[in-house]
């Protein structure tokens, strides 16, 4: 097991892992592996956009030990659980979703992991969850399958991301416009985001996710 440049993420034989925060406990059906005194949880890039992004050989996902993270579209917390391993006891991840079924899972997960907080709300209605998160967060992660996903991201970054903070937006071409070619959709989204923020990375999540891109921004 070797540590990657990405803080808190480890690699062995092409598979990636995080240090399990709660020993012996699985979150989904991932493998637990033991190396010396440490226990690692395998991070499946097919089930996690951030996992797929890491497997594109990037150098940083901008999430640190102690980070506060706002995660829009947290679903049942598969990805959030690995971010929870990374941010550790001093960090906090606020996970937001509007579908009750995955949110039930995420509430249970939040009760187990002391750095996860659940919010049952619509990511597009930024005023409605203002009292449930801190005034500013270090990182915003978004993975929602809505048509106006770029607009939702821009609103949240403007309102909640600290100056100098990072935003990771996973773009799903097919939920934006099924009639357009994905390349065209990506180009339009990229231009829309570029008008507002500095894009520091933009790359495809193939082969783990079809027609998906990750856009990373830094707020001035």
């Amino acid at each position: 097991m070797r540590s990657l440049k990405i803080i808190g993420v480890h690699e062995e034989k092409g598979r990636i892992y995080t240090n399990n925060m709660i020993r012996g406990k699985r979150v989904y059906d991932e493998d637990l592996v033991h190396r010396g005194p440490a226990e690692y949880r395998e991070w499946n890039p097919k089930r996690s956009k951030i996992g797929a992004y890491i497997c594109q050989e990037v150098n940083d996902i901008f999430i640190r030990e102690g980070s506060t993270v706002l995660y829009l579209g947290v679903a049942n917390g598969t990805t959030a659980s690995h971010l929870s391993d990374i941010i550790g006891d001093e960090g906090m991840l606020f996970g937001l979703d509007f579908a009750f079924r995955p949110m039930i899972d995420f509430v249970f997960l939040s009760e187990e992991r002391s750095n996860l907080a659940p919010i049952f709300a619509d990511a597009g209605k930024v005023e409605e969850f203002a009292d449930k998160i801190p005034k500013e967060v270090d990182v915003i992660v978004q993975d929602v399958a809505q048509r106006n996903q770029a607009e939702i991201f821009i609103k949240n970054v403007k309102k909640y991301l600290k100056s100098g903070g990072f935003g990771l937006l996973s773009v799903k071409a097919r939920s934006i416009d099924i009639k357009k070619h994905p390349k065209q959709v990506f180009k339009e989204i990229r231009e829309q985001i570029e008008r507002e923020f500095n894009i520091i990375d933009f790359r495809s999540l193939e082969p783990f996710e079809k027609d998906h891109m990750m856009i990373v921004i830094k707020k001035k």
Binding site: T68, M92, F94, F100, M103, I104, V107, S110, E111, S114, N115, L116, A117, P118, I119, F120, A121, K132, I133, P134, I178, K179
Partner: protein
């Protein structure tokens, strides 16, 4: 407020918010899914039963294609003269009979559950039921996700609900657009001279009825139904 206090507050709020968001539609959707489960389980059990029963009397199985009718008649497991089957002993046939009676019971359960669902739908959404029938109306709500989402849909969307695969193929590649989806289950569409046309006018009335139901308007289902003639 420190992060830990905020988290504890969020957990309590999320629980209350989830609870408050649940409505009768969630219950209806589960019930429809359950009835569809029963259909697929029954299908699987009946297929095995036919295979098994054909050792005894293949002629009876082949003469009755309707599953539930066949299951009732198959209570007779004595080999008839000239049959291709074999006369197994009463004792040997016990296992086959257990399967038959369980299937027969499941058909009864399915009918009862459909009756309960239709009663529930009738109470909640009488106008939509008058047009589509309770079971079909419930299936439409299931695809939409809730009555609110269904009610917002234009008639053209209602018309092709359940044919999403064909619809998206049409949008992507310019293949022919689907004329109907789930609405084909309704006799007005299925038995119509022009199915596409009937699906279009039926979808139009269902979309109206759903709006009336959602906003708790007066009963106009009979008038809407009359206008389809």
């Amino acid at each position: 407020m420190n992060l830990q206090d905020l988290r504890k507050k969020d957990i309590i709020a999320a629980k209350a918010d989830i609870s408050a968001s649940l409505g009768i539609d969630n219950y209806i959707i589960q019930m429809v899914a359950h009835i569809e489960d029963l259909d697929s389980v029954l299908n699987k059990l009946v297929k095995r039963f036919r295979d098994w029963y054909e050792l005894v009397m293949p002629e009876l199985s082949r003469a009755h294609h309707d599953h539930s009718e066949f299951i009732k008649l198959a209570v007779d497991m004595t080999r008839k003269e000239g049959s291709m089957g074999r006369a197994y002993t009463h004792e040997d046939l016990a296992g086959l009979e257990v399967l038959r009676s369980e299937i027969a019971h499941l058909y009864v359960v399915k009918d009862e559950q459909i009756g309960r669902l239709e009663g529930l739908m009738e109470r909640e959404y009488p106008n939509t039921c008058a047009l589509a029938g309770g079971l079909l109306a419930a299936k439409l709500i299931r695809i939409a996700g809730s009555m609110k989402k269904f009610m917002i849909m234009p008639a053209s969307t209602v018309q092709t609900l359940g044919a999403e695969k064909a619809l998206f193929r049409h949008l992507r590649s310019g293949a022919k657009s689907p004329k109907y989806g789930l609405l084909l289950a309704h006799p007005y569409v299925a038995e119509g001279e022009n199915k596409g046309k009937n699906a279009r006018s039926m979808a139009d009335k269902i979309a109206l009825a759903a709006k009336v139901d959602y906003f708790k308007g007066d009963f106009v289902g009979d008038k809407l139904k009359e206008s389809l003639r």
